[in-house]
């Protein structure tokens, strides 16, 4: 198989070679990490080698990866600078001093006495509270106040005044209220109006 690019990303994904129907480029690519690290089982290793003999693109990519790894593994290691150990020792001394500080610094004696006194008072309070909880006490109920139920207001049986029904629905309510104040009030029921118009 002739691949167009040198990278695995550009290779075909489903090509099986004629002599090696078991392996395609995708499978080769998936197993390449273990192949380079030499951790593949024997059968798969042979399959990979066979694929390499038949697929130019995979063979080229395999060679590129191996050469690039040789390059990075040959990078020279850097060494710590000459003052590294001294600086580390200094920092360690500081760290030790910091760690030791809370242990060695004695708090004032008065503080300890105050803490002890507070603890005793707190313990006493807790003990008294617990004792009070344990002793049975008479049950004290709050005084009862008897009240008469309020009479329920009778529901309005008469229909709504006609004037209210005549206010246009689109007016704001305060305008409607002003308007209502200016209008002469005729408390007439709908029934009466009906009677007048019939007359």
């Amino acid at each position: 198989m002739e691949g167009a690019g040198t990278s695995f990303h550009h290779m075909g994904t489903g090509n099986r070679t004629l002599n090696n129907p078991q392996m395609d480029c995708r499978e080769f690519r998936d197993k390449h990490l273990s192949y380079v690290d030499d951790t593949l089982p024997g059968v798969e290793l042979v399959g990979m080698q066979l694929h390499l003999t038949e697929c130019v693109s995979c063979a080229r990519q395999d060679a590129t990866v191996r050469r690039s790894l040789m390059l990075i593994r040959s990078l020279q290691r850097i060494e710590p600078s000459p003052g590294f150990s001294e600086r580390l020792e200094h920092k360690l001394r500081e760290a030790k001093a910091l760690d030791a500080a809370p242990k060695s610094s004695a708090r004032p004696r008065g503080f300890a006495v105050a803490v002890a006194a507070t603890s005793i008072v707190m313990l006493g309070y807790i003990a008294v509270s617990l004792r009070q909880v344990d002793t049975p006490r008479d049950i004290m109920l709050p005084p009862v106040v008897a009240t008469l139920p309020e009479s329920v207001a009778a529901p309005m049986t008469s229909p709504a005044p006609a004037m209210v029904a005549s206010v246009p629905a689109g007016l704001p309510i305060w305008t409607a209220a002003l308007f209502a104040e200016q209008v002469p009030i005729h408390f007439a029921s709908a029934d009466l109006t009906l009677v007048k118009s019939n007359r």
């Binding site: 040198t6 990278s7 695995f8 990303h9 390449h32 990490l33 380079v36 990519q61 590129t64 990866v65 050469r67 690039s68 790894l69 390059l71 990075i72 593994r73 990078l75 020279q76 290691r77 850097i78 060494e79 710590p80 600078s81 590294f84 150990s85 600086r87 580390l88 920092k91 360690l92 760290a95 760690d99």
Partner: protein, 212 residues
């Protein structure tokens, strides 16, 4: 604590304490330190300072800051070694602390553009320094080519996304196993393999033009 005290080093047969410490594995050195042998800590520093410095330096790309962070790693180790689970590897624990500090540094940098600028500026100044790593017996054009290649490799590593770069450095430069990387980076094994595979391919793609 009693079991630790029993494992304290008893100097014998002419071998100095330092020599004895040097012959011990990490776990025994840690035990000696917890048993009160202060020199055991220096042994741990000796063993890990260069490894951790390279790991942090390749991750954050700033040598000075890398040294500060490695010192911070050792201070944390010193303070919290009594809490270290000794059923696990000391190196994994130390690398985990270093990895977290490096990650925090990168996060702070991305939040603070001034720090980022200062780092870039420092790297420019680094370019003016005399050659340090090349063999002085090489011909000048070879030295130039080597230096150029080294810079390209370092730049290519820096171009990888942070979580890919971390896994890539731990594997290719520090030689850690997948399992150790998973523990250090707090990822599952599948994620480590996937990131490493992607990192290798990306890195190969970046450096390929310079290798021809």
């Amino acid at each position: 604590m009693a079991s630790i005290a029993r494992k304290q080093i008893v100097p014998n047969q002419g071998a100095t304490v330092r020599e004895q410490l040097r012959a011990m594995d990490d776990s025994a050195v840690v035990t000696a330190f917890l048993g009160g042998e202060e020199r055991a800590f220096s042994e741990l520093v000796e063993r890990y300072q260069t490894r951790l410095l390279n790991f942090v330096y390749r991750t954050i790309g700033d040598r000075e800051k890398a040294e500060d962070l490695v010192q911070e790693v050792f201070i944390r180790v010193y303070r919290h070694l009594h809490r270290f689970d000794r059923s696990k590897k000391f190196s994994t624990w130390a690398y985990t602390i270093a990895s977290n500090l490096a990650k925090n540094e990168l996060r702070n940098r991305s939040r603070n553009p001034l720090v980022l600028f200062q780092t870039v500026q420092k790297n420019w100044q680094d370019d003016d320094r005399p050659l340090q790593f090349e063999d002085s017996t090489s011909r000048p054009d070879d030295m130039y080519r080597k230096r150029h290649l080294r810079e390209i490799v370092e730049e290519s590593v820096a171009k990888l996304p942070e979580h890919h770069r971390n896994v890539f450095i731990l594997r290719e430069l520090e030689g850690k196993s997948y399992e150790e990387i998973a523990e250090i980076t707090d990822c599952n094994l599948g994620t480590v393999k996937s990131r490493l595979n992607r990192a290798r391919n990306s890195f190969a793609e970046i450096v390929a033009p310079y290798m021809e």
